[in-house]
């Protein structure tokens, strides 16, 4: 087995005739923050559910050296996750939530959860059902961050939260949690918000991985060129992935092209993760 934390080969999952995952291959290395990015229905959630042992699948999958579906309970001693927003049960009190996780989780540190919660000013006697969506998310995050896990999976953890709550969530994650011993896999619609956090991106579309790339490598492999109308024909000859009309110029996105050649066509920049995502998925669909 490789040293990868997560290793998937030919990972497939069908729901009836719908193919949610279609022989997807990917790997996640330790110490990385990986963004799993894809349009709705692309298979992001299915992929993460498979990784977390929440669903059966076909193909090969190893997470922390285990087969997740058969060994979810053992896996959850070393991996933790927040799947979706506000899934803490409404009848539970904050104190009870801490007690039960402390009771059953060998790697949960109660003091740490209490410290994190103290920052949120949410009382321990409060019932989850009384809290706002943002507060519920912060309680869940505090519980999850107090677990000494090697792998943290976040599936749309901030969906439907206002911008303050979203910012608070990611700040807490980066400042109070992330270090080189941890690995985070995150999916979100708001790519812009996590862009600066990520060390790797995995693009997924129609159940297939269309890009698996370190963020540092994006600048080498991809380029965006702002081309004036006169040079457009010459630029298109270089086979761009995707083009986009913007304020009198056309932005062309290239993969693996010679940067010097591109510089002659117009101003070259490094595409943002969200632009790259749009370019990559559009070109995959066109081909």
């Amino acid at each position: 087995m490789s040293s990868s934390l997560i290793q998937a080969r030919g990972l497939s999952k069908r729901y009836g005739s719908f193919v949610a995952l279609d022989r997807a291959d990917f790997a996640v290395e330790p110490g990385r923050i990986v963004g799993l990015i894809g349009p709705n229905g692309a298979g992001k959630t299915t992929a993460l559910r498979a990784v977390l042992g929440l669903t059966s699948y076909e193909g090969e999958l190893s997470v922390l050296g285990r087969e997740p579906f058969r060994h979810r309970a053992a896996l959850m001693r070393e991996a933790s996750f927040i799947a979706d927003v506000a899934v803490l049960p409404s009848w539970l009190r904050v104190q009870q939530a801490i007690d039960i996780v402390a009771g059953v989780h060998p790697r949960f540190r109660r003091e740490r959860a209490l410290t994190l919660l103290a920052k949120t000013e949410i009382g321990a006697a409060r019932r989850i059902g009384e809290l706002s969506k943002g507060m519920k998310t912060m309680v869940h995050l505090a519980l999850t961050m107090a677990i000494d896990a090697r792998l943290l999976v976040l599936d749309e953890p901030t969906l439907g939260l206002d911008i303050l709550a979203r910012r608070g969530f990611y700040d807490a994650l980066v400042n109070d949690y992330m270090d080189e011993t941890r690995t985070i896999v995150i999916t979100t619609h708001q790519v812009e918000e996590v862009e600066n956090l990520l060390s790797d991106v995995l693009f997924i579309d129609k159940g297939r991985i269309v890009l698996d790339c370190a963020v540092e490598a994006i600048a080498e492999r991809y380029a965006a060129v702002a081309v004036a109308d006169g040079d457009l024909a010459a630029a298109r000859a270089q086979r761009p992935l995707y083009e986009r009309r913007l304020l009198g110029k056309t932005l062309l996105y290239f993969e693996g092209a010679d940067h010097e050649k591109l510089a002659r066509l117009g101003e070259v920049s490094v595409p943002s993760v969200s632009d790259l995502f749009v370019a990559k998925v559009s070109s995959e669909r066109a081909s």
Partner: protein
């Protein structure tokens, strides 16, 4: 073992009705005993008859608790693997290092052992209070009838015996309810009731028989015939040697119960249903 205690505690946190319903019944009985009219003609009759009255009172208190307990326990089992999928909190519970088998078995334990045990404790306490209230109010005629240790001991033995035998006898029913609870995406009650009704109807229509209906009726209402000596048998044994105290000692028939193939076939069917519920629980992360 530690996990199991936490899981049971969790069920008691979530399902406060486990305590509240029997406590209300007990309170009502006590109010009735304190302020109601007491008219038990047998009380003023001869000694052995008044003992019978004492037995009757204890049995009546028992029945008053036993029926709601059966209804509540069925509801609990039907709801226990569905409610957390409906509100999606299953995504939180599954992030804890607890296997689905442990979860299902714990909920089964709560439904068939813990809930009856709570009702038993509350019924016991209520019977004591009711007997106390009645004795104080009707001192003259009631005397010490209700304060015979043997009577209490009998009550305890019968309750515990019935809890143990019912747990085994109703295992197929409990298993079926849990299977539906783990399976249904909506309308759990309908999905629990309709399939057996459909089988009964189909059998009547196409075969003209009603074997399944009979089987179901015997299972739902016939537990007592297997675990207890037949009432006629009991009354005969009461009328045995002169001077013996009529009692319930002769009522339980553990040997007949344990040797009954019905019990073990039912338990086997129950085990299959429960195994099915575990498999479904592993695969269903939400509704």
């Amino acid at each position: 073992m530690n996990d199991f205690v936490w899981l049971v505690r969790r069920e008691f946190w979530e399902n406060k009705a486990i305590w509240i319903i029997p406590a209300c019944i007990g309170a009502l009985l006590l109010v009735a005993a304190l302020f109601g009219r007491i008219e038990v003609p047998m009380l003023s009759a001869a000694e052995h008859q008044s003992t019978t009255a004492g037995v009757l009172l204890l049995v009546a208190v028992g029945v008053v608790f036993w029926v709601p307990m059966g209804i509540y326990s069925s509801w609990y089992l039907l709801d226990c693997l569905y409610a957390d999928r409906k509100d999606r909190s299953v995504l939180f519970w599954k992030s804890l290092p607890i296997s689905d088998r442990a979860t299902v078995l714990c909920k089964l334990f709560v439904g068939v052992i813990a809930v009856p045990a709570v009702y038993f404790l509350v019924a016991d306490l209520s019977a004591l209070l009711v007997a106390g209230a009645v004795s104080v109010r009707e001192r003259a005629v009631f005397g010490d009838v209700l304060w015979r240790p043997e009577l209490w001991l009998q009550q305890q033995v019968i309750w515990l015996y019935l809890i143990a035998t019912s747990a085994l006898w109703y295992l197929p029913v409990a298993g079926w309810l849990m299977l539906v609870s783990a399976w249904a995406k909506r309308a759990v009650i309908l999905q629990a009731v309709l399939p057996p009704l459909a089988i009964i109807l189909a059998e009547r229509l196409f075969l003209g028989t009603h074997a399944f209906g009979g089987l179901l009726r015997d299972r739902l209402f016939g537990g007592g015939y297997v675990s207890l000596h037949h009432p006629i048998h009991w009354s005969l044994s009461q009328a045995g040697p002169a001077g013996t105290t009529p009692g319930v000692w002769n009522l339980p028939d553990p040997q007949g119960f344990l040797l009954s193939p019905q019990v073990w076939i039912g338990a086997l069917v129950g085990a299959v249903f429960i195994a099915g519920a575990v498999q479904l629980r592993m695969r269903r992360a939400d509704t």
